[in-house]
Symmetry: C2
Subunit: 152 residues, 2 copies
């Protein structure tokens, strides 16, 4: 389950991606535009900055802005910064592998095998989708070029 932290982070990053190259954006602006509790958002942006995804500038005319091109920032990276590993079990995580204490034999653990498939599928989707991809996605739908296949 995606935490609110990650969801807020993705929303804020989307705004910053749209505004990329046009100077810093205020925390307050982001908070207001996306309806995110301001102080909580500060926390989130800070973490993203500490992991190098964002940069900030203090004082008047300051704010936050993307550390690099929206094409080079993936959903997977953002989610991992806020929520930690994507894998449903530590024993199938690539970034934070940890053996199951009670596992007799990892090679023959069927649960592990299924969860590894899940991890790989999830990671593939999240790591291959960039902020730029998402912006493009929104554009296409807005312009009515998409059949809206997944709308409920």
């Amino acid at each position: 389950m995606l935490s609110k932290k990650s969801k807020y982070a993705l929303k804020a990053m989307m705004v910053l991606a749209k505004e990329y190259g046009q100077g810093p954006v205020l925390i307050s602006d982001l908070a207001q535009r996306e309806d995110i509790p301001r102080k909580f958002l500060e926390l989130i942006l800070l973490e993203l900055k500490n992991q190098g995804l964002l940069q900030s500038k203090k004082g008047k005319g300051g704010g936050y802005f993307l550390g690099r091109d929206p094409q080079l920032i993936s959903v997977g990276h953002i989610v991992r910064v806020l929520d930690g590993p994507i894998a449903p079990l530590p024993c199938v995580s690539k970034m934070a592998y940890m053996r199951c204490r009670e596992c007799r034999d990892e090679r023959t653990c069927a649960i592990r095998f299924v969860m590894k498939e899940v991890r790989d599928a999830t990671a593939k989707i999240m790591d291959s989708t960039s902020l730029a991809d998402m912006l493009r996605q929104v554009e296409t739908v807005v312009n009515g070029k998409e059949p809206l296949s997944f709308a409920i």
Copy 2:
């Protein structure tokens, strides 16, 4: 992230699948064989029974056993009983859909689109893998017919 509940449930169900058709298995046996806290396991098996995946028999010679053929019980079903919906966001869940309170327009929400892909991929894997499949998987690996491609 898969909870311990789900993990324990899958382990216990695997044992019961292997023992399918050979009478009930004691909670204590399951707990001991898979190294699961006994009282906690009781809770888990009860939930699985209430959802119809298991049946039980009281008194001497009693215990738990699968409610139907291992081929007809999927990993997805088990996980959903213990952990709830698989979807990373309620707004992309098929079983427990819930609108995002602050979402202006679901059709143009890129986050939702990505998470829907994740949900679908995960559900596809989990729902198409049965207990019988997992047992077969273990067999094949044990007999050395598998290249162990995913071993670390």
